[in-house]
Each structure stands twice: as structure tokens, then as C-alpha cells.
């Protein structure tokens, strides 16, 4: 097989380049699974609680759409319902990005050319990438199975659940192998594969919503759309609910088909070329583009639009689910208790809505981090150098980026609040009133997001080389403090580290001005420190 010459060597290169990413992936997924299984077990400790959960999950269309079809009242089935979609999406995106990174991105940057000119077969780079990524998926699934057993779940179900998630990773590895052949750019390849993930999610959600509830009311039989979605396959394995092992053959079959197709495409195309030609664009810059602000908008608008769609769909669904939440509270006091710990306050429904808005604020924090870190990306790419060599001051450049990220955060927060309000208002016959009220409540979270922006800016100004890692770490810490702080009974001093801790949990509690003013002042100080640091330091550094 001369076409595969050098595969082993290239696989070692992939391992070397991604040793940290792969380690986080392979060890992180099981750890996350272990933690989630433990917390779910705490919330639904007995058969009665799980019976209630399963009945609600099987009858609620929103729960079916977001959590998939529940497979019974076993603790494992509840764990799968609560965690499967999250873990599967993470694994799907990790696999996708990893494939693109080691195939199309190498061609885009010219590294593949350098390798291709050495003693390396035509299929070797793709094969090496797929070998490592499939192996990572298999290894992560194996550890996840052990972790689930360690969390006290039965071995057969644990293995099935872990294999189902590993199968999703393998399936999207195959899909990404094909999209990497289609698009000329790694961004395009990732976008195509991410669109496939989104489509799978929608198909699965549709199939599960259209499915039938079983006679005892604790199971769902998915309709056909779930069967054409790689994300749906994992549910159809029915871990902890009478496992159907043969379903695991589907991702393996897709892998073989995907690899064959990718090889065939790779055989027919030139190095660096794709099947989708890049579009042409305007020959000159429109006036609204030609300023730092115009450029920032142009760079952000695609990402912002994607976020807006996601936030709107999620907000609307969460709002509609508010009504079903009422029913769930009656059946499961323990779950209500957990929501209450997150949202706070006396009225459980308000607590639910506040908890949802809090979750949105945390999630939109990721948008802020991502948007602001573009400046760092520009710096490492060398684009920032070209920009700062023009008559634009560093303060104006960085300030524009911060402003753009902040405005994006305002828009997304408002959208989250309004769509949640609309959804909830529709089922309670007050769409407009709820939209206004929750829209306002959502905007009260802005100061926390400004602090996030401040943290990123400070890191960019003072510790540029560490800014990417530390910014995401900071957000992750805020997220963990917010989600697990109360459950783990951490001391208040630790919780106070997160700006989200200080935002009044409206509508569960009354708004208060002082914390918001203090947060805004902290954000302003952080932003000033970041800008001052940026003005003083070398570019690029």
C-alpha cells in the first residue's frame, strides 16, 4: 500500500501536536460524565423521583427535543437523558475540529505540501488523522464506561452509553473527513461539518418529538428522523433500557463509507483544491467597512448571527418549558430544589426563569471571550501589526473591539430575555408583558459580562501569550462556581470570585443597584488596566 506510506510517522506527528488537546478530551469527557452522573444521582435518589422524571420527560415535547427519548426509570436512563446530548455534542464538535485541523488546515497553511513532497503516500495524512481521532474516541468511550461504572451504574448499560457517545464521535469523524475534501478553507470545512452536527440535532429532535410514548408512560419510541441522524443513533442504543447493541454498527458503517468517499475525493482532487470553489467578493471596500468599527462588525456579524439563532431557539424553548416545569415541580421536589439553588428566591417558577437567564448570561460570556480573543488571533496572525502601522491608535483599536463585544453581549442578552419571555408568555397568555419583563431582567446581567470582557482585556494587555488559555479558564471557573458552587456547598468567599454571583437573580429576587454599580466599576478598572497594558507593550509579543 504505497498510498499509505508514512502513515505511522504522521500519526505520531498528530499525537505530538495534539498531546494536550487529546489528553484533555480523553480524560475530560469521562471526568465530566462521572461528575454529571453523580449529580443526577443526587437529584433523583429513589424510584419515585425517577418515575416522575421519566414520565415528565416522556410526555414533555421540549424535554424530548433537548434531552432525547428517555429509555425508562433506571438511574442510568435518567443519567443518559440528562447528559447524553451535551456529551455527544461536545464529542461531535471535538472530532470535527480535530479532523479539519489535521487535514484541510495543513493544506491551507502549506504544511501538507511540505509533507507531501517527502516520502508520504497520498492517503497517509488523512489516514493518520483518522486513526488518531478514532482511537481517541474509542479510548475516551472506554474510560467513560469505567467512570459510569465507578459512579455506581450497571456495567452493561455504562458500556452501551459510553459506546453510544463514542459512536457519535466516530460518525462525525467520518463526516468531517468528507467535508475536509469539499471546502478549500478549514473554516469552510468546519462550518460544513458543524452544519451537519446542527442538522443531526434538528433531525433527532424532530424524530424524538414525533415519537410515541410507551404504554407505561416512561419511555419514548422515536420516529424515523432520529434514525437518519448520527446524534439520534446514540439514543437508539437504549443504554440502561434493554440495550440494542447492533445500533452501534451504524457509526462504524458510516466511518467506513466516509473514509471510502474521502479517499475517492482525495484521489480526484489536487492538493489544496476543493470541490466547493470559494466565492468572489466586492472589488472595493464599502464605506461602512472602512473603519475599525466597520471591520469589527464585519468580522463579528457571522458569529453573532449564529449565536442569535441559537439563543433565540433555546430561549423560546426554555420559555415554553416553563409551563411544563410547573407540572414537574409537583412530581419532583428534589429537582425543584436544585433549580431553586441556582435561581434563588421564593417563587419556584421565577427561580426557574432566573436560572435560565443566569445560564444564558454564562453562555453569552463565551461569546464575549471568543469575540475579544479575535484581537489576540489577529496579533498572532500578523494582521494586528498591519493595522497598527496605520493611523489608528492602540486605544481606539482595542476599545472598538471591546465595544463590539459588549454590544454583541447586549443584543444576545436582550434576545435571550425576550425570546424566553415570548415563549413563557405564549403558554401563560401574556407574551408581550413577559417579553418586556424578562428582556429587562436579562439586561441586568450585562455588568457581569462586562467584567468578563474586562478580564479578557486585562489578560490581553498584560499577559498576551497566556490570554487565550487564561480567559477560557476564567470563564470555566465562573461557570463551575455558578453551576456547582451551591451544590458543592463552597464557601461564599470562593463564590464571590465569579461576577455572576453578584448579579441580582431577577425575576426571582428584586433588582438591586449597588452590586451592578460595583460590577461595572470593576469592569471599567479591568478594561482600563488592559488598555494601558496594551499601549505599553510590544506588538507582536
Amino acid at each position: 500500500m504505497r498510498a499509505l506510506t508514512g502513515t505511522a510517522l504522521l500519526a505520531r506527528l498528530v499525537l505530538r501536536r495534539d498531546r494536550i488537546r487529546l489528553a484533555i478530551w480523553v480524560l475530560g469527557t469521562p471526568l465530566l460524565g462521572y461528575a454529571l452522573a453523580g449529580s443526577v444521582a443526587g437529584i433523583y435518589p429513589d424510584q419515585a423521583a425517577r418515575q416522575g422524571y421519566a414520565t415528565t420527560s416522556a410526555s414533555s415535547l421540549v424535554a424530548r427535543a433537548f434531552n432525547g427519548p428517555i429509555a425508562g426509570t433506571d438511574l442510568g436512563a435518567v443519567v443518559v437523558a440528562e447528559t447524553y446530548v451535551t456529551l455527544a455534542l461536545i464529542v461531535a464538535l471535538l472530532s470535527t475540529f480535530a479532523v479539519t485541523r489535521h487535514t484541510r488546515q495543513n493544506e491551507e497553511t502549506g504544511r501538507a505540501e511540505l509533507l507531501g513532497a517527502s516520502v508520504v503516500g497520498r492517503y497517509a495524512p488523512l489516514t493518520a488523522a483518522l486513526l488518531v481521532i478514532v482511537a481517541a474516541n474509542v479510548l475516551a468511550a472506554g474510560l467513560l464506561a469505567l467512570a459510569l461504572v465507578g459512579a455506581g451504574l450497571p456495567p452493561a448499560g455504562s458500556l452501551a452509553a459510553a459506546a453510544a457517545i463514542g459512536g457519535v464521535g466516530v460518525a462525525f469523524t467520518a463526516i468531517a473527513a468528507v467535508t475536509a475534501q469539499l471546502s478549500v478553507t478549514s473554516r469552510g470545512a468546519n462550518a460544513l461539518a458543524a452544519a451537519a452536527v446542527g442538522l443531526s440535532f434538528v433531525l433527532r429532535a424532530a424524530g424524538d418529538v414525533l415519537g410515541e410514548q410507551s404504554a407505561d408512560g416512561t419511555r419514548v419510541q422515536s420516529a424515523w428522523p432520529s434514525w437518519i441522524s448520527p446524534l439520534g443513533w446514540g439514543n437508539q442504543v437504549r443504554a440502561f433500557g434493554g440495550e440494542r447493541w447492533w445500533v452501534l454498527a451504524l457509526p462504524v458503517a458510516l466511518l467506513l463509507a466516509g473514509v471510502a468517499l474521502a479517499y475517492a475525493l482525495a484521489e480526484r482532487r489536487d492538493l489544496g483544491a476543493g470541490l466547493i470553489a470559494p466565492r468572489r467578493g466586492p472589488a472595493s471596500g464599502a464605506p461602512q467597512l472602512l473603519s475599525p468599527a466597520g471591520l469589527a462588525w464585519r468580522m463579528q456579524r457571522g458569529t453573532l448571527l449564529g449565536w442569535a439563532v441559537g439563543v433565540a431557539v433555546l430561549g423560546f424553548s426554555m420559555g415554553i418549558a416553563g409551563d411544563e416545569f410547573n407540572a414537574m415541580i409537583d412530581q419532583n421536589p428534589a429537582a425543584a430544589e436544585a433549580i431553586n439553588a441556582m435561581g434563588g428566591g421564593a417563587n419556584l417558577l421565577d427561580a426557574y426563569l432566573a436560572a435560565m437567564l443566569g445560564l444564558f448570561a454564562l453562555t453569552i460570556g463565551a461569546y464575549v471571550v471568543q469575540a475579544l480573543l479575535r484581537v489576540r488571533g489577529d496579533e498572532t496572525d500578523g494582521v494586528l501589526e498591519a493595522a497598527l502601522a496605520t493611523a489608528v491608535s492602540r486605544t481606539r483599536w482595542l476599545g472598538t473591539q471591546v465595544l463590539a463585544a459588549a454590544l454583541g453581549a447586549v443584543a444576545l442578552l436582550l434576545l435571550a430575555g425576550v425570546t424566553t419571555g415570548l415563549g413563557y408568555g405564549l403558554v401563560t397568555d401574556d407574551p408581550l408583558g413577559q417579553a418586556v419583563e424578562l428582556g429587562g431582567a436579562a439586561l441586568l446581567r450585562l455588568p457581569a459580562l462586562l467584567v468578563v470582557a474586562g478580564v479578557v482585556t486585562t489578560l490581553f494587555g498584560l499577559l498576551p501569550r497566556w490570554s487565550v488559555v487564561l480567559s477560557w479558564t476564567a470563564l470555566l471557573v465562573f461557570l463551575l462556581l455558578g453551576q456547582l458552587g451551591a451544590v458543592l456547598k463552597l464557601p461564599q468567599a470562593a463564590l464571590n470570585v465569579s461576577p455572576y454571583t453578584h448579579v441580582p437573580s431577577v425575576p426571582a429576587v428584586d433588582p438591586a443597584a449597588l452590586p451592578l454599580v460595583v460590577l461595572t466599576a470593576v469592569a471599567a478598572a479591568l478594561l482600563a488596566a488592559g488598555v494601558a497594558g496594551f499601549r505599553r507593550r510590544d506588538v507582536p509579543s
Binding site: E108, V184, T185, R187, P278, R279, R280, G281, P282, A283, S284, G285, A286, L289, L290, S291, P292, L295, R298, M299, D381, G382, V383, E385, A386, A387, L388, A389, T390, A391, V392, S393, R536, R537, D538, V539, P540
Partner: protein, 314 residues
């Protein structure tokens, strides 16, 4: 008043001393070649001149302003082509040119369109699909479409084909004629020879030579081959004569330009039948300075006699 004046400039990155007492003087209206081996500190110097990097010590003035403190004001008066051109991947070439021009304070639309045509650049393609040469063309067009006093060009033609190289040289001559000053970092010796009024050669963060090409040539020995009626003697005692050896009745030697006259006076006494004298090529000049041994860059002792060239810090 020089357009660029740098004195004893020092810049360190951690333990690495990128610039170690560099001197550079660029006069108004000249095209100044900025030469040196890879990693000798050319790009670092240029980034300090643009106020992107902070100098550790020494003086740096550009257009009679401080490049760090007055960066924004200065940048309106200069245009820059980076050595490694990177652009916003999702903008088209045309958009990138207009953006850079606008951020610099506006560009000449007519010239922009003319340059696009001369450089044969398709402005509707996305920057991510451009080759290295085409990305460079974007930066070159954006720079030359601006009317400024100073052009800072960091290896601008390293990815261009010979045809485009010629267009580039035309453009440099055009802006020079208009009175602008150009700092041109380059490895293309033909380009340097064709364009530069003066050059500075740097090595390991220091200036090793500076002057016109003619002056620099003076620093290098001329190779002489002579055929005489009688065997030549007495060359060993002549000052400035080196490497004398005889092959097939011909004498080969090297001589410092300042002592050429004395050498000819001596040779003529032995009945010269044939004589060739080869001035040093630019390549030889550079190879001397780029070579492994830093001391090889030091010119022959006679250099100081020649007077004109001002040799930089050794």
C-alpha cells in the same frame, strides 16, 4: 534633517539581544537599502521605527518625531509593507486595500485602480485564497496608492515574479521622483543595485557598513591578473597588495583600491603584455558581510584612507 535617524539602538527579547547598538541614517529623498542576513534585526528595527516595538535604549527619530510616542501622527505620513503580509482572510483584496488606505488616512483611488492593473491583481478574491506573492501585492498596492513622505518596505518583493519586480521598481522610482523617502529592506541584490542611493548592512544587531554602493565597493579589493615580459618582483613589499600567486606565467593578486596606482607603477617596469582588473561584484561585497565570521566583515585597512565611506560600529 534626516528622515530616519537611529543611534545606538538596543532591543532585547528575553536573553536574545536582537539589536545591539544599531545605527542608521536615512536622508530626505533617498532610497536607502537596508541589508543583512536573516535574523540580523532588520524587521525588529523596522517595527521600532513604526512604534510597534518599544526600544530598550538608544535614539530613534522618524520624520523628526518619536516613533513610539507619536505613532499615530507619524503613521499618517508613512506607508508600510510588512515582510510577511497577513490579511483579514474573509475580506477581498480590494476591501483590504481600501481598509488599509482609509485607516492610514485615505488613498488615491485613481492610483489604486491603476496599480491593481499594473500588478495584475484580482481584487475580488478573498485574502485567504491569495498566494504569498498576491498578498504582498495587496500590501504594495495599498502602500503606493497612498501619498506619503516615507515608505517603509520590508522585503516587499520576496514573492514577486520578475515582471512584477520591474513594476515595483518603477513605483519606487516614481515616489522617489515625487520627493518621498524609501527604506527598502531586501535580499534581491539586483533590486538594491537598481534602486538604492545608499545602503546600510547590518549583522547581529549592529551596523557593519553604510554608504553609497560606490563607496562600499571601495572597501573591497580589486582582483588583478597581469601577464608580463619578465617575472614580476617586489610585490610583497607594496602596501595594500594581497594574495599574490603565479599560474602559467600570469600573476594573480588582489589590491585595495587606494593602492591601485602604486601597483600599476610597479607592474609597468616588467613589461605588461595583458592586464585585467575586476572590480568587486555586489555579491562578493555582501558575501563578505553575510559570512559566518563576523570579523570578515571588517574591510581592508586601506578603507580608512579612502575617506568617504563612513563605516558603522564594529
Amino acid at each position: 534633517m534626516p528622515v530616519i535617524s537611529i543611534g545606538n539602538l538596543v532591543k532585547t527579547f528575553g536573553a536574545i539581544r536582537a539589536l545591539d547598538g544599531l545605527d542608521l541614517r536615512v536622508e530626505q529623498g533617498e532610497v536607502h537599502g537596508f541589508l543583512g542576513p536573516n535574523g540580523s534585526g532588520k524587521s525588529t528595527t523596522i517595527r521600532i521605527l513604526l512604534g510597534l516595538l518599544h526600544r530598550d535604549s538608544g535614539d530613534a527619530r522618524v520624520l523628526d518625531a518619536d516613533p513610539w510616542r507619536d505613532a499615530v501622527r507619524l503613521h499618517r505620513r508613512l506607508a508600510y509593507v510588512p515582510g510577511d503580509v497577513n490579511l483579514w482572510p474573509n475580506l477581498t483584496g480590494g476591501e483590504a486595500i481600501d481598509l488599509l488606505g482609509k485607516l492610514r488616512g485615505g488613498l488615491d483611488r485613481r492610483r489604486r485602480d491603476e496599480l491593481l492593473q499594473r500588478f495584475d491583481l484580482d481584487p475580488t478574491r478573498r485574502c485567504r485564497t491569495y498566494s504569498k506573492g498576491n498578498r504582498q501585492k495587496v500590501a504594495i498596492v495599498a502602500a503606493f496608492a497612498s501619498t506619503v513622505e516615507l515608505y517603509v518596505l520590508d522585503e516587499p518583493t520576496s514573492g514577486l515574479d520578475p515582471l512584477m519586480e520591474a513594476v515595483f521598481q518603477d513605483e519606487v522610482r516614481r515616489v522617489k521622483q515625487a520627493g518621498a523617502t524609501v527604506l527598502l529592506s531586501s535580499h534581491v541584490l539586483a533590486e538594491v543595485e537598481a534602486l538604492c542611493d545608499r545602503v546600510s548592512i547590518i549583522r547581529e544587531g549592529r551596523t557593519v557598513e553604510s554608504g553609497t554602493l560606490a563607496e562600499l565597493r571601495h572597501l573591497t579589493r580589486t582582483a588583478v591578473t597581469v601577464e608580463t615580459a619578465r617575472p614580476v618582483t617586489g610585490l610583497d613589499t607594496l602596501p595594500g597588495v594581497h594574495d599574490v600567486h603565479e599560474v602559467d606565467g600570469r600573476t594573480h593578486l588582489e589590491v585595495d583600491p587606494a593602492h591601485l596606482d602604486a601597483l600599476l607603477g610597479q607592474l609597468i617596469r616588467f613589461g605588461v603584455r595583458a592586464l585585467t582588473s575586476t572590480p568587486p561584484t555586489l555579491e562578493q561585497l555582501f558575501l563578505r558581510h553575510y559570512g559566518d565570521d563576523p570579523t570578515a566583515g571588517a574591510s581592508a585597512p586601506a578603507a580608512s584612507d579612502a575617506g568617504a565611506p563612513q563605516a558603522g560600529a564594529r
